[in-house]
């Protein structure tokens, strides 16, 4: 089987190369050569087939415990739970490269199969770009990181999987994040195709709108699961540490979010063509940059794979791809003149532009902070590092401004807003924001950041509520629909707009939850069985943690030391927490890896109680614990859930087609204001 896998890789390599060559040479229909175009199309299908065979071969080798393969021996062992044998496919560098290439080829084939109508003219170039990118990944595997590499001898057992990867979150987080990362290649391929074929009207935007949203959604889910994994598995009591690799995943997400907003301006007003193309190209380059950071070890991170020559491949690819894209982009700039100009600073367009600037500003500061050690060393000769304080200091104000734009944007009319219009629009949301602010002030909250987050959050919720209320009222007048039914109708008829508002609600929930983390309290204690520690939470309650005792036992692939803790809130028992130290062992009982920690978490709407067993004192039952009270963490996961729901509503196929303006400027004022007139 490994031989078959290795051969399939070579086959995929050749087919991919062929697809790239024929796709570029075939050019765009109708002038291009139809036979070459068809050939490029089939190449994507063949490449996908070959890579699937390679993946299956590797999985079979993993399930058969074929330790003659270096990859299988390095990441699995005989006693690894079956569940994790699946995720072993992407637990290591080489396998994850194979996974990357396969998913990309899946997208490449899907886009060829699913694209219909007038967007088909882009397909040959899209095939060429996707094949070229996939071929690069296959090249890296074949020449630097072959998952089918054999060992000179066959070990009796493998080294096993790192215990921190043996977590359900780690089974789903990488594929989700990869799906997001990888699917950015499709919008990018369409952008390049539009540039190459010089068909730069709004058509290509429509072709990629859904794909962009798909990657955005996958990236969001991947980030959220990653946060959850960090929270429950790493044991430092938080979910976001501004680690370089986390930042690398956040960067394309920020740029895509900017694109999803600014694309509306191009659709409605024919403006921002250059900007939108630049955003898509930038998002894709950032995704490759993220892959480079993760795999090269150039920036120290807790997430990185082993330092390896793979980094050079990625660096060369990144530089080459950036140079080619920018050259192509620059050569087409004359074709990208806007159809309209900005008419007023108080307009939907302007508010979207400010939103874009803020998102890109945040992305730039995150990139800058991530690269700063390298930059400062190159320029000043000393490595200077910045950490979470830097990112918080910069991004809290920018994030709050962005949150405010979330509420302001939907309230301002396209093209130009009038004063009466503004007054009518802002009254309810502003009142709602001030109301929230007053409640918190009365409740005794004095933290500026939290007050601002909540106040602005109240304003945004007011905006969204007003939008839904007005929409429902209009439907009631027109069709006599009841409010709940009208809201469902709004959501199904105009998914993009109202689904987007749901996402805005999710963003408010997330921001408030993030702000809650500034109220976390923490204590460390060494306790004998029966002894307890007290910790006052910022929710006003006093929590008492009593150490009940230690139990030790063997599980499938580990020796477990577990501590049981009784938890009381203001003296009243509310449950028990359990935290573990795990020493993973191989089939012969020898220790593998360092001991890992299983966190005990009791999650609630207001606070999470979070307990870590740090160790036992000299093997007695006296144990060291860290107790943390994390406010509002539940709301991060709930906000994430709402975000995904909102994204799915926008993405769901069907519904009313959104009219797309062509290259001509629209003669009537589009969208929002027209609706308002009808509502009067």
């Amino acid at each position: 089987m490994p031989l078959l896998g290795h051969l399939s890789l070579w086959l995929a390599f050749l087919v991919g190369l062929w697809g790239a060559i024929t796709g570029f040479a075939g050019g765009a229909p109708p002038q291009g050569r139809a036979d070459l175009q068809q050939s490029a199309r089939y190449a994507t299908f063949a490449m996908f087939g070959a890579l699937v065979v390679a993946v299956i071969s590797l999985e079979i080798a993993i399930f058969r415990h074929d330790f003659s393969l270096e990859y299988v021996a390095a990441y699995t062992s005989r006693n690894l739970p079956t569940f994790y044998l699946w995720s072993a496919l992407y637990a290591g560098q080489k396998g994850s490269l194979l996974f990357w290439a396969t998913v990309l080829s899946l997208f490449a084939a899907l886009v060829q199969a699913m694209t219909s109508g007038r967007h088909r003219v882009y397909l040959p170039y899209v095939a060429a770009v996707t094949c070229a990118v996939a071929t690069f990944f296959i090249t890296v595997m074949l020449f630097a990181a072959n998952p089918f590499e054999r060992l000179a001898f066959v070990p009796l057992d493998g080294r096993g999987m790192n215990p921190q990867l043996q977590n359900p979150g780690m089974v789903f987080h990488p594929p989700m994040l990869y799906l997001g990362y990888i699917s950015i290649t499709i919008p990018f391929a369409f952008a390049i195709a539009a540039l190459l074929s010089k068909r730069l009207d709004s058509d290509w935007l429509v072709a990629i709108r859904k794909w962009t949203l798909v990657s955005w959604l996958f990236l969001s889910i991947g980030l959220l699961i990653g946060m959850w994994w960090a929270y429950v598995e790493l044991g430092w009591g938080g979910y976001w540490a501004w680690d370089p690799v986390e930042n690398a995943a956040l960067l394309p997400w920020l740029v895509m979010t900017a694109f999803l907003h600014s694309v509306m301006i191009q659709e409605k007003r024919g403006m921002l063509k250059k900007w939108n193309l630049a955003l898509i190209i930038g998002a894709w380059l950032l995704s490759i940059f993220g892959t480079f950071i993760t795999r090269s070890g150039v920036i120290a991170s807790v997430h990185s794979f082993t330092q390896s020559s793979v980094g050079y491949f990625f660096l060369v690819f990144l530089v080459l791809a950036a140079a080619l894209s920018f050259w192509l982009y620059a050569s087409r700039l004359p074709l990208l003149e806007a159809d309209a100009t900005l008419e007023s600073m108080v307009s939907r367009e302007a508010s979207f532009l400010f939103n874009n600037l803020l998102l890109i500003g945040i992305a730039f500061s995150v990139l800058w902070g991530t690269l700063f050690p390298i930059l400062s060393e190159a320029i000043k000769g000393t490595k200077i590092m910045v950490g979470p304080p830097f990112f918080n200091q910069v991004n809290v104000p920018l994030g709050l401004a962005l949150l405010a734009m979330t509420g302001i944007g939907p309230l301002i009319a396209w093209r130009r807003a009038s004063i009466p219009n503004l007054r009518r629009q802002f009254a309810v949301p502003l009142t709602s924001g001030v109301f929230v602010l007053l409640i918190l002030l009365v409740a005794g909250v004095r933290d500026i950041g939290a007050l601002m987050a909540a106040g602005i959050g109240g304003f945004v919720l007011g905006t969204v509520g007003q939008e839904f209320a007005r929409g429902a009222r209009a439907r009631y007048r027109q069709y006599g629909e009841s409010t709940p039914y009208a809201i469902i109708q709004l959501l199904t008829r105009n998914r993009r707009r109202y689904g987007g508002y749901i996402v805005h609600v999710a963003i408010v929930l997330l921001f408030v939850a993030f702000a809650g983390m500034s109220f976390k309290t923490e204590t460390e204690a060494t306790l004998r069985p029966g002894e307890s520690a007290e910790l006052k939470g910022r929710d006003g309650h006093v929590y008492t943690f009593t150490h009940l005792g230690i139990s030790q036992y063997n599980a499938l692939n580990r020796q477990v030391t577990a501590a049981l803790i009784d938890v009381r809130r203001d003296g009243k028992a509310i449950g028990r927490l359990r935290t573990e130290k795990r020493q993973h062992v191989d089939a012969l009982g020898n220790n593998t890896f360092e001991p890992s920690t299983e966190v005990g978490i009791m999650s609630g709407l207001r606070v999470d109680l979070y307990v870590v067993l740090a160790g036992l004192v000299n093997g007695t039952e006296q144990a060291v614990f860290r107790f943390t009270i994390n406010p509002l963490v539940w709301w991060v996961w709930f906000g994430g859930f709402v975000l995904v729901i909102g994204g799915l509503i926008v993405l769901w196929p069907g519904g009313a087609a959104v009219a797309v303006k062509g290259s001509r400027a629209p003669s009537t004022q589009a969208g929002y204001t027209v609706k308002l007139e009808a509502e009067r």
Binding site: A91, G92, R159, N162, Q164, L165, G297, A300, V302, H303, S304, F305, T306, Q307, T341, L342, S344, M345, V346, A350, L353, F354, L357, L358, G361, F364, S365, W368, G369, F372, P373, T382, K383, I384, M385, V386, G387, P389, F390, F391, Q393, V394, P397, L398, A401, S418, I419, E524, T526, N590, N591, T592, F593, E594, V612, A614, G615, N618, Q622, R626
Partner: protein
Amino acid sequence: MLATEWYNTNMKAGTKFALGAVLIVGSVGYLMASGIKQTGQYFLTPSELAQRVSADPSFYDLGLKVGARVVPGTVSKEIATQTLRFHITDGTVNYPVVFKGLPPDTFTDSVEVVVEGRLQRDGVIHATNVLAKCGSRYEAVPKA
């Protein structure tokens, strides 16, 4: 056009937008510059730190990060007081480190670490944070 719509009459929209953009870009730049100034920390190897300290004693008591390898056999843990003592080295210069708190799971006596803290006059680095910068974190360490 109404005279009250000052924002539409006084200046061209493009110019005003440019002002807004400059404001945003400016604040991003300012926040970044001040952020780096206030929170940036030197990242040094033990040799570099020794050099700096001998050249400029103000490097004592300065918050910084030191990246080095833990010297095998020097780790001592006092679980009762949660004090961790170890030595770090880059092959030429060796510094003792004291850390109160819980080390990460990946901390062992031969791992690469990033120690965050201050070098005090007693020649000991008093760490506020220890990160196990384990490049091969997700890959098993072959047991010797």
